[in-house]
């Protein structure tokens, strides 16, 4: 091979190596950039939700915020989100209670075990996990999406601007009462759901002959498993998960851009994000409180 040919080949090889390095570097930069963008996007969204939640609580403890229109808005929202949702919570609680308690009783019966064994599991799974989650599902499905739809419509049609122009803080008038109402509603509905699950589950199980103990024994087994930490957990879980759900739905609605045609898309996105947040908050709180994910112990 002549010297010029060797030179040409080596130059070409060098070009190929340089091209490969450039491509690899490009890909690394591209993916690093994407990851960074994703991180900042998620971090920004999370901090926005936390800000709305914090601002709502800060405004709520300030007596001057509770003007007549704000009180009126809050009571209407509680009526819609909690009181009007009781039938839905009863239906959901009843159905899931039957599924859970009857199944558990039938399986323990088949295994030759007694209700004493299944009662603590039932109690913990209902109070710690299922009732808060079910009530969150009811509130988000029924009210959360409605809240984001209403606020997005108000934003798109200029109503938020009208409220702002009159010297009324949209955060105080529109967001704070809704976030608080959602928090309180999730808590109240979770209690109703838990009670409904236990009562309906026992009644149907007893009728199907899957549960052989009396109501007093059954209830006594469940009540004897009650701990103070359960109450703390139940309260904090429903309030925090409800707060996140309310804040996300309000934030999505208030941040709406564009025209009325975007409103359904914003509402469905708010519902999905609120549900995701509720599941995430639920799992994180479970880990923090019991060093468990759901009801299972690590290790």
């Amino acid at each position: 091979m002549s010297a010029p040919t060797v030179f040409r080949v080596s130059i070409r090889s060098f070009d190929l190596v340089r091209l490969a390095v450039a491509r690899v570097t490009g890909w690394v930069w591209y993916w690093t950039g994407n990851l960074g963008e994703l991180f900042f996007d998620r971090f920004g969204r999370l901090s926005a939700i936390a800000s709305v939640l914090w601002a709502s609580l800060a405004l709520a403890v300030h007596p001057g915020s509770w003007t007549y229109p704000v009180r009126n808005m809050f009571s209407k929202q509680v009526l819609f989100t909690a009181v009007d949702a009781i039938p839905a919570a009863l239906r959901f609680g009843g159905a899931v209670g039957v599924l859970l308690i009857v199944q558990a009783a039938m399986w323990t019966d088949a295994a030759g075990a007694t209700t004493e064994i299944v009662a603590p599991i039932l109690w913990r799974s209902i109070v710690r996990e299922i009732a808060p989650l079910l009530s969150c599902l009811v509130v988000i499905g029924r009210s959360g999406i409605a809240i984001s739809t209403e606020l997005a419509t108000m934003r798109a049609s200029g109503e938020v601007e009208v409220i702002d122009s009159m010297g009324i803080d949209p955060m105080t008038f529109l967001v704070m009462p809704r976030v608080l109402a959602v928090m309180i509603s999730v808590f109240c509905l979770a209690i109703i759901t838990a009670v409904t699950m236990v009562v309906t589950g026992y009644a149907v199980g007893f009728m199907m002959d899957a549960i052989h103990t009396s109501w007093n024994d059954f209830y006594g087994e469940i009540a004897s498993n009650f701990e103070l930490s359960d109450l703390t957990f139940f309260l904090s879980k429903t309030m925090i998960a409800g707060g996140f759900a309310g804040a996300i739905c309000c934030l999505e609605g208030v941040n709406a851009r564009g025209s009325m045609t975007d409103v359904p898309r914003i509402a469905s996105r708010a519902g999905i994000r609120a549900l995701t947040a509720v599941f995430a908050v639920s799992a994180i709180l479970s880990i923090l409180f019991y060093n468990k994910i759901l009801v299972f112990q690590f290790g």
Binding site: E159, S165, M166, G167
Partner: protein, 253 residues
């Protein structure tokens, strides 16, 4: 000699001596829409008791500009002051307090659709701590004052939500809401658009009385109806030249 020169000058109009309510210093503003009114290094002031009329072409939309004046949108450059205070920073209670002293008649959508008209009108007063009875009295007074033969229609409409009420009645209710709490600054965006001509005199008389009480009025007049209005002198004029507002203007002949 100097003393003679001073004595021969005509006395300044009362509004020129009054404190500025709304001030603009070198403001640049573009707005978001194609029909938005712009500001290009605009400097001007609106004083207590003064009425400034801005004549609009049919395509002009003052909504963006007015929102900027109220601190809802920031200007691209320059400074806007209300009662010598800016709209900057995070002192939100002060900003909301400042806005509560400003009455506004909106061009376009102006109502919270989920509330009745009465609730809409009384909402700002209730929120800012005016007693229920006082708020009702003020609203009743301005309804008597502004609505004339339309009073029965307006009273009927107060119980309804805005989407079922006809535009002329809505316009009257907007006027009532804007003036009910005795604003220090009144910004009117095409306030006569749907108003019956028979009520123009009542409108003019109400505006003049508000000016006597110290209210500064910025009147974005439409392109047709307002020529017959006879406000108390002096009336100052700003003009829109090439889409941008300018203080060196006068009313079109």
């Amino acid at each position: 000699m100097t003393g003679d020169a001073i004595t021969t000058e005509p006395p300044a109009p009362q509004w020129e001596l009054a404190a500025p309510i709304l001030e603009f210093h070198d403001v640049n503003f573009k707005g978001t829409g194609e029909t938005s009114i712009q500001m290009k290094r605009f400097t001007g002031a609106l004083r207590s008791g003064e009425l400034v009329e801005v004549e609009l072409e049919r395509h002009h939309n003052p909504r963006d500009l007015v929102s900027m004046m109220l601190g809802l949108n920031p200007p691209d450059a320059g400074e806007v002051l209300y009662d010598r205070q800016d709209w900057l920073g995070t002192d939100y209670p002060r900003h909301f307090q400042m806005r509560s002293e400003i009455g506004r008649v909106f061009a376009g959508s102006a109502w919270v659709q989920s509330l009745t008209l009465r609730d809409n009108i009384q909402l700002p007063m209730r929120h800012h701590g005016i007693a229920e009875t006082a708020a009702k009295k003020k609203v009743a007074h301005w309804i008597r004052r502004l609505t004339g033969h339309q009073r029965a229609k307006v009273k009927w409409a107060l119980k309804k939500r805005p989407n079922v009420v006809e535009p002329s009645v809505l316009q009257l209710c907007q006027l009532v809401r804007a003036v009910a709490n005795g604003p220090r600054l009144l910004i009117l965006e095409r306030p006569l658009r749907f108003l019956p001509e028979s009520l123009y005199d009542r409108f003019v008389s109400a505006m003049d009385d508000l000016r006597d009480a110290g209210t500064a009025i910025l009147f974005f007049a439409g392109d047709r109806d307002e020529y017959q209005l006879k406000f108390r002198k002096p009336v100052n004029h700003w003009r829109i030249v090439d889409g941008a507002i300018d203080t060196h203007g006068r009313r079109r002949p």
